[in-house]
Amino acid sequence: MMLKALRYGIAGFTLSCLTSLCAQAQEPKELFFYNWTDYYPVELLAKFEKETGIKVTMDGYDSNETLLAKLQAGGAAYDVIVPSQSIMRTLIEQNLLLEIDAPTLANFKNVKAAFRDPSFDPGRKFSAPYLWGSTGFSYDSARVPGGKLDDSWKEFFEPRPEVSGQLAALDTSSSVINAASHYLGVDECSENPQDAKRILELLQKQKPHLKMYSSDNTVDRMASGEVIMMQNWNGSTARATLQKSTIKYVYPREGLAMFQDNFAVPKSAPHPDNAKVFIDWMMKPENAAAVSNAIAYANGIESDKLLDPKWKVMDAINMPEEFASRLRPEKECSNKARELQDRIWSKLKG
């Protein structure tokens, strides 16, 4: 056992030496990493630099649309980007990504089976898995009657009088419309105006009960008690639970959106070889686990054993198996569906 580990270690070491030597021959030892804001622990970059000698500069964005717009405009010099699955097809079809053939990377063997061959990138030609999570809702069990809410979107869209005025929704049209669609049992990307009408009616009925729409400060909003209930991401909920143990996360039985973020390399990347070194390094279990432990989202690498005990006890991070069937991977909607969603959102807020 020991010997085997040692052998793997040596093999890995030689390989990483080889790749870094190759990289050294062609590229300066630097890497431009364009990631979601607050979605990567900075300390880990120091470790990467120490092990590979590649210096990483990180920059942040706030939505897939920002990323798409930057890449479409051209001239953006990023080596590694983190697109969600809902924009991968667009990036591939627009010919904006470099083929990296992730399965050929040494550490791809650590990728969990469920993440090896996703429908948005068959065969992982253009991407490697990063983190994944879900958009359900969270509540403070100390402040609801009976200390427990039903695991249904009904609690969120048609709130009890005790919670009214003390709940928040995300200020992202797709997240709100996805949740409403799941509750009503219609397709998230429906092109039928009648579905849009029903969604709008539901949201308009909910609006007077809402304190706000906001996608910022989600951890603090729950932890400080500003609201009793809010539409929330699992990782954000877990971080709030750490500050206030009565906060719970709900996987609604009608279904909830699941997002999966990926590492990819733009066609215009100035250091594609360094990018591959980085992506390969991130598929090592200890590095993937370091991210999950720092920012509380699960990753797609076999690293569950390395997860911090403080997260392991939380349903929000360590999802109970029976909830797996409730996850609905986010889709990329057609322009027609997108236009309907925009109309719902404008009318809702108009």
Partner: protein, 305 residues
């Protein structure tokens, strides 16, 4: 060719060229591109189809929209957002004037050294990012903050007043952000004010209020107008403050435009909305110019009589 042989028209053109080029590069060309985009059909993945024929669809959409039942209906959403933004910006301008004018007037009475110190103090908030200043208000105004806590402790019968996520909070944020734009232009006109005119008013029997209303205020009008424009125009397009402090429950025209270039991926509609906003601002400026020409004429006529 020596300078003397050039025609005066030619040399005038050469002398003006830096200005013309700047205006062309920073205003005319970007506006032209925006106008062009507003006439093109949108692309599937954001952006526009540059090769397509011109169309006016994005302008029609400003006023008419296909309803969920398939019929074409008058679209009030954008008009409402626009009216709401105009009202909000107008209110902000008025409040900035109410708070800014006394400050500017007070500053002119200070010793020159203290005046420069005050100018510095007023500009200091600008050294911090707008986003951070708005978040600061979020922390000050929230329910657990000391202002809301003390108000609710003093007035328990009011039943829990919330200061955040409403129009009040947005007004506070906008006034705080844009107040210096009002103070500084008023201060610069008042600084050059000939105080002998005010003394003359006193000699002629005016009390303090009358001197302020009939002499100081009219003389500071250029500064007030400049300040009002500097406050009104940016607060009309503001989208960060309403999104953070307003709780995102209502759309301002700025949010609407941002949404078109972001999640909605509808650049033509975003451009046509921008032009609508621009058109309304132009209209306001033209009306103001006409009005001021008229008042100038009446004043001159009054002086002649």
């Amino acid at each position: 060719m020596s300078v003397s042989t050039q025609s005066p028209a030619m040399s005038r053109l050469l002398l003006l060229s830096p200005v013309v080029l700047t205006l062309l590069a920073l205003i005319a060309i970007p506006l032209g591109i925006m106008g062009y985009i507003s006439l093109l059909p949108r692309n599937l993945y954001g952006g526009v189809d540059w090769q397509a024929d011109w169309q006016l669809q994005s302008y029609v959409k400003l006023f008419f929209q296909e309803g969920f039942d398939g019929e074409l209906e008058l679209n009030w959403v954008y008009a409402q957002a626009l009216l709401r933004s105009v009202a909000q910006a107008g209110g902000t301008t008025l409040l900035c004037f109410v708070f800014g004018f006394p400050v500017a007037l007070w500053m002119t009475g200070l010793a020159p050294r203290q005046r420069s110190l005050m100018v510095l103090l007023i500009t200091i908030p600008f050294w911090t990012n707008l986003l951070i200043r708005n978040y600061a208000w979020l922390i000050i105004l929230r329910e657990q903050g000391w202002i809301a806590q003390s108000i609710n402790a003093l007035l328990p019968q009011a039943g829990g007043i919330t200061l955040l996520y409403n129009d009040f909070a947005v007004s506070v944020g906008l006034v705080y952000s844009f107040l210096p734009f009002m103070i500084l232009p008023i201060y610069s006109t008042l600084e050059k004010l000939d105080w002998r005119l005010v003394e003359a008013a006193y000699d002629l029997g005016a009390n303090r209020w009358k001197a302020l209303r009939r002499v100081i205020l009219p003389l500071s009008m250029p500064g007030v107008i400049a300040g009002a424009l500097l406050v009104f125009v940016p607060s009309l397009g503001a989208f960060i403050t309403p999104a953070i402090l307003g709780g995102g429950k209502t759309l301002m025209i700025g949010n609407l435009i941002q949404q078109q270039f972001g999640t909605a991926r509808n650049w033509p509609l975003g451009s046509s909305l921008s032009f609508l906003l621009l058109g309304i601002l132009m209209l306001a400026l033209v009306l103001y110019a006409l009005y001021s020409r008229k008042t100038a004429k009446t004043i001159r006529r009054g002086a002649a009589a």
